[in-house]
Symmetry: C2
Subunit: 582 residues, 2 copies
């Protein structure tokens, strides 16, 4: 379990402070993550890796000459926000564009693709690749749905070496795709990890048993079986990975035997002795294997085998020199480095946005804005209260980070909203500031979605006068539509939409019957709450593997539950102050 | 816990096979451990580090240019044997002598000092240094009794850099001593590790508690207290270590924040943020800190802080380049390397001694030799049966490795004895072969002592005719005296002597009363057994810290118990075959 922390809510920030201090020769912090201490040399493509933290040395531990130019650092097991990914990409850009790359997880894909769009809109060429090496996470005919595990390391290494060689952005992307297509991994778990401050492990494996294909955030695996001997495990992993050998692949292979945190070096070497023997027996030539902790999962017990089948280009990139806080190979040329960064250019990684600009709203709109800020503060309070409950629900079919994300996002939104009120903002200004900060600070899929929801609602409410009943329901409908557009889900897919839509419809119906929205809100919130509970009967359909979908039946969707809680807590605010709603 | 192994009895061998395979660019195996892939350049002092395994990357993970020339690899948490240490020293020697260095543990000190004597006897200049950085393991006025923990790393690094610079052997020893005198560590533990195949953890810490000063093999610490926050822990460690600042030390410090296996990188960085701040606040200038896993203890949860106060020479050595499987710094010059080793020169690390030479004994002596071999096989069987029980007893006041060591040693002794019988050996030849192999294969203090015991007994029995009663009791007295000489303990110090002496005395008395030794053996063995049980009331006086001594009261000494078991099992052999004793 994770025992050492101060405030669990700031674990990632504290971790990053220590990491940057200990590795000041290699890296500096920028908002959203870290970049190399030297600037990217002009004309070199920048490779920016990332994802949630808790996987050290992935991802910030491999920033340095010959490897990544920057790493976006999300909260533990949580995707960084779009803002974070774009920020690190911007800082790493040396003028030749940026390849952003992560493992294939919904939150990462969403946020990094949005960051690519944002960078491109700013005139910075950007591309994105999601690594899909985990053969246990989806069948061969749905290879694009596979998750990224330790294969992140081979793909990131190869792409980084290609960039260092001077490839242009599309060529770096081409080689990264080749590496991903040539990489297969299979992992096992013996016991789960515990998030900082969490009362229980994120997941467990019964003593004496092993989860085959269990994901690095505890995602369900293929099967559970008795703990094998080291030799039996080696056979299982080698056979499993070799059975997925890509068509036309040769016999030269880069290999990683990766420890997840608590399966230690000595055990890995015992297993490696058999893995090496079996690979040779199968006709493989192992090129510069890595045996150790490259992509961990806090103190999770388990390991994984990754094989990347090499052609000449991939082998050259795999063997190319690199020099990072945790991984070194050969002697990277100093000539290819940029200049030491100006300290003024970098910032402490606290993720806080620049001071918002002044806004203009009329007094009525400002009073509405203040009420909305109060509501957001109530939401933040409710989420702080519900964090553990939400994490527990989410752990059934997800990685248990939903409560933490909601707490971080809502707290940031509340603070930004109160700040916007001080600057004289109305509903639009308050909700835009809150939405931006929710998305920036919460990370994960739900952070982006909540950010979009608040921003869309605010955009319809505007900053002039007090919104009337029709405007309020229209704003909520606009928020719902923003989520549908952004998230790609439909009602019935077991998402927050399944609580939000009944809520919006109930409020629309009451208002169309002549009831003031503030009077109708509490009843609509009850509808949302019942709808959230009813998601227990649904089977998710968006971007989730079959075992995950089945495991989730009987448990409501955490996003739907938290949404219902949020609208419920706002009802209380409005009821208490019903003489003066926004 | 350690989950991945094949035969637990061969865990270290299997681990080493995998380690050598994965790191063939850096290291090759030699009997007893590993050396660099390139020979030591002529005229360069060789630095050979070592100790039990289970502490990776200590010790074999730091063999390479700029760091160690070789590592002696003992079984898990068990000192390598004298034979192993001498073997690696011999292989690493480049003609300018060898510094052997380990943490300060009784078994390591004993075996490595004997290895130094052996190397010197062969004409290879050799020195030994035991690292004593753990401030929790003995008070300041008994600094030489302190154990070595992560300070091993700073001392080994500095000594290796000095050797690389071209210092002669005594100058390397001088700098190593300076580094040791300037290094202080303090560690904490949150939970214990589990040896391969063991049913229970070696030790535990209650949930929510922390053992301050708990050793890397579970040796008792100073106190147990509630789990602190990361900041509180940082304060405790920094204050504790700075309070032990050596007289006259400056303000520049090399610092290690070391994870023991299950306290992960992210947590270490969180703690490091506060450690770094506190060190700066105390006026220290931190020079190239290391935050990570440098000296682990399987999957033990915990961490330690090490500070080495620097002068110009130590700082230069600390910062000097190094390139090893796990630790790299800068770019070590290739010019200073020797040549790639001839594969024929190296051997699989199975620790087996060369084929014994033919021996000559008369038929009567050969029949006695065969009986003794049978007795040794019975001992090996009894030890295999008692392994867990002995480990459990030893874990109370030691590191729980006694059972494993006895199993390995007695099995090797049995095999060597049977082999000697095939070659026609009598009592002396059988017991000498058995003693050598026991010492070589068991490791630890008890391995050396048992080796000496058997050899001394055999030396008195001789290889001519059947030993008479008086010769048998004299041989056992000679064995007892060899132990007293070698181990430095006296009766009453809670060691195996406390079972052996009553046994020898009982047998002497019976024989002096005219009873044949073979008839008297069983009764004397009963005396030994009762004496072993009675050691529960004793407090150890040899080389054990006060908390350890107190913890051991109420539990018998594992060495005394196993000795009584051994003589008991031999009684059965002799009783069954009493018509024809040796």
């Amino acid at each position: 379990m994770t025992r050492l922390f101060n405030d669990p809510a700031f674990f990632t920030e504290d971790m990053l402070t220590g990491f940057l201090d200990a590795n000041a020769d290699y890296v500096v912090g920028v908002p959203g993550g870290v970049v190399r201490a030297a600037t990217t040399r002009p004309g070199k493509v920048a490779v920016v890796v990332g994802g949630g933290s808790g996987h050290y040395p992935a991802f910030c531990g491999v920033v340095g000459p010959g490897f990544a130019d920057g790493a976006v650092v999300g909260n533990i097991f949580t995707s960084p926000s779009t803002t974070d990914a774009a920020s690190v990409g911007r800082a790493a850009n040396g003028g030749a564009g940026v390849l952003l790359t992560t493992g294939n997880y919904a939150g990462d894909v969403l946020n990094f693709e949005l960051a690519v769009a944002q960078l491109e809109a700013e005139g910075i060429p950007a591309r994105y690749l999601a690594v899909t090496d985990d053969i246990a996470s989806a069948p061969r005919d749905e290879i694009d749905r596979r998750r990224g595990i330790a294969g992140d390391f081979t793909v990131f290494k190869v792409a980084s070496a290609a960039a260092e060689e001077g490839y242009d952005l599309d060529q770096v992307l081409r080689v990264a795709r080749l590496a991903n297509d040539a990489t297969r991994s299979l992992g096992v778990a013996f016991d789960g990890c515990t998030l900082p401050g969490a009362p229980e492990p994120l997941f467990t494996v019964p003593p004496g048993r092993m989860g085959l294909g269990l994901g690095i955030h505890g995602e369900p695996g293929i099967s559970e079986r008795p703990l094998p001997s080291a030799a039996e495990l080696a056979e299982l992993l080698v056979e499993g990975v070799l059975a997925e050998k890509p068509a036309g692949a040769g016999e030269r292979v880069a290999v990683i035997l990766n420890g997840l945190g608590r399966t230690k070096y000595e055990e890995l070497f015992v297993v490696w002795a058999d893995v090496s023997r079996l690979l040779r027996a199968a006709g493989c030539t192992v090129v510069r294997p890595e045996v150790g902790e490259l992509v961990t999962s806090l103190d999770m017990a388990g390991c994984s085998l990754t094989v990347m089948w090499l052609d000449d280009e991939l082998e050259r990139c795999w063997l190319a020199p690199a020099d990072t806080p945790t991984f070194r190979r050969g002697t990277p040329g100093a000539a290819g480095q940029g200049q030491r960064r100006d300290p003024a250019e970098t910032a402490a990684p606290d993720g806080r946005a620049a001071e918002g600009e002044a806004v203009e709203a009329d007094p009525e709109a400002r009073r509405s804005g203040a009420r909305i800020a109060t509501a957001l503060t109530a939401i933040a309070g409710r989420m702080a209260e519900a964090e553990t409950e939400l994490g527990r629900i989410d752990a059934v079919a997800g990685d248990g980070d939903h409560g933490r994300g909601m707490v971080k996002g809502s707290a940031a939104a509340s603070a930004a909203a109160q700040d916007a009120v001080q600057r004289g903002a109305g509903p639009a200004g308050v909700l835009r500031a809150a939405g931006e900060q929710w998305a920036a600070r919460a990370g994960g899929t739900s952070g982006v979605l909540w950010g979009a929801l608040l921003t869309a609602v605010g955009g319809r409410l505007g900053d002039h006068g007090r919104p009337d009943d029709r405007t309020v329901v229209e704003s909520l409908r606009a928020g719902y539509q923003a989520l549908v557009r952004l998230g790609g889900a439909s009602p019935g897919d077991k998402t927050m939409l399944d609580a939000l839509l009944p809520f919006v419809e109930a409020l629309e119906e009451s208002v169309s019957n002549g009831r003031p929205w503030s009077a109708a809100w509490a009843d609509a919130a009850q509808v949302a709450s019942r709808a959230a509970d009813a998601t227990a009967e649904l089977r998710p359909r968006v971007g989730r593997a079959r075992p995950l979908a089945e495991r989730s039946v009987g448990t409501p969707d955490a996003g739907a539950v938290s949404l219902a809680m949020c609208v419920g807590s706002v009802a209380n605010v409005f009821t208490e102050q019903k003489e003066d709603p926004p």
